[in-house]
């Protein structure tokens, strides 16, 4: 069958790459052109055969940004955390002002600056955190001491049992040896 001059447009039509107007034109052309209709059908068969090879599932997940390799840089983390440090910066600035100026101005800062409140809150929060850390440490220490004590008691009991068993064996051996000795003594006397 002779190839139609609209061969390339036909392929554009197949892949839905024609503007609406040209698409309608091609549909009209296809109604009257047997060569293009056959060609289109063959191309459709070819592409559908290609699609019999489906996508495969990924054997393992791709590392997400929450994974270590994707962790933001130090600078990015610093930028992201800036708002959190804003209050701290305000209190630091207030302290700086307090150090660089005489008492009346310090008083003014204490009276007016919201940074002092932040500083107080910060101190309280730090104290609370220290108290909590100490309490946690005490619990950990107590648990460790208790465990060590229990272990020591277990080992002591096991040693006592072992000693007791050894003593029993020893006593049995002494008993046997005594019996043997008592059996041998009359024979010796009889022989003399």
């Amino acid at each position: 069958m002779t190839m139609c001059e609209k061969n390339e447009t036909l392929r554009d039509y197949l892949f839905d790459e024609l503007p609406a107007g040209e698409r309608r034109e091609m549909e009209l052309h296809l109604n009257g052109c047997a060569a293009c209709s056959v060609e289109l059908e063959q191309l459709r068969v070819t592409t559908s055969m290609l699609k019999t090879l489906p996508d495969q599932e990924i054997p393992q997940r791709i590392g997400f940004v929450s994974d270590k390799i994707f962790a933001p840089s130090l600078f990015a983390r610093f930028v992201a955390a800036l708002p959190k440090y804003a209050a701290l910066a305000v209190s630091a600035a207030a302290l700086l002002v307090a150090f660089n100026h005489p008492a009346p101005q310090v008083k003014m800062v204490v009276q007016t600056s919201a940074g002092v409140d932040v500083s107080k809150q910060l101190n309280e929060a730090v104290s609370a955190a220290v108290r909590q850390a100490k309490a946690e440490d005490a619990v950990v220490l107590k648990t460790a001491l208790d465990e060590a004590d229990l272990k020591h008691q277990r080992e002591h009991r096991m040693l006592a049992v072992t000693l007791e068993q050894s003593m029993e064996v020893l006593q049995k051996r002494i008993g046997v040896m005594t019996q043997l000795a008592s059996l041998e003594t009359p024979q010796n006397g009889a022989g003399q």
């Binding site: 191309l43 090879l53 590392g63 933001p72």
Partner: protein, 182 residues
């Protein structure tokens, strides 16, 4: 597709504000497509996995450089294309994918083994540029202008590669189609 593009654009805006979860969402949306594109390019599972990982790492690092958020797909595949060819260049100076092995690819349920073998063989006989054009158009469904962006060449070149490949495959697969291998 429009809703998807809108959602991707929205996610990208959030990623640019430092929203890690939004990027995770983008990864889970695109990882299978990127992996399969690279698998069809390299023919090797391990290489495709490593490359996919690298592609998303690069995307995360460079997402601020993406000019048009609606073009995330082609931009991501451009990275994938560059990563794949960078690997080929490291392994072979002439940057070829000729050693790719497609014979192990599984067929869709119901497809005959003969058809699977024939399609794999036909894909193997294409040159790397033709094969990539087929992968991007037939398997990934990109438009010509998007393919031009991914491959960094004019639409006319892409059409030429694709249509030549299609003609070759039509001839190659005609006997199988005639035997009802479809």
């Amino acid at each position: 597709m429009i809703f998807r593009a809108v959602e991707d654009a929205d996610l990208i805006v959030r990623v640019r504000k430092g929203d890690v979860e939004a990027f995770n969402h983008l990864v889970s949306r695109w990882e299978k497509r990127v992996y399969n594109y690279l698998l069809r390019l390299t023919g090797k599972t391990e290489d495709s996995l490593d490359l996919t990982q690298d592609v998303f790492l690069k995307a995360w690092q460079n997402i601020r450089k993406l000019d048009d958020t609606a073009r995330f797909g082609p931009w991501l595949f451009r990275i994938a294309h560059n990563e794949a060819y960078s690997l080929f260049r490291k392994r072979k100076p002439d940057a070829s994918t000729d050693d790719a092995d497609y014979t192990e690819r599984e067929a869709a349920p119901g497809a005959s083994p003969e058809l699977t073998l024939s399609v794999n063989a036909a894909l193997n006989r294409l040159n790397p540029e033709q094969r990539e054009a087929v992968v991007l158009k037939v398997y990934q469904g990109f438009k010509f202008d998007e393919m031009a962006e991914i491959l960094g060449c004019p639409v006319s070149t892409i059409k030429s590669r694709l249509y030549t490949a299609l003609d070759l495959m039509k001839t190659e697969l005609a006997p199988v189609a005639g035997r009802g291998g479809r």
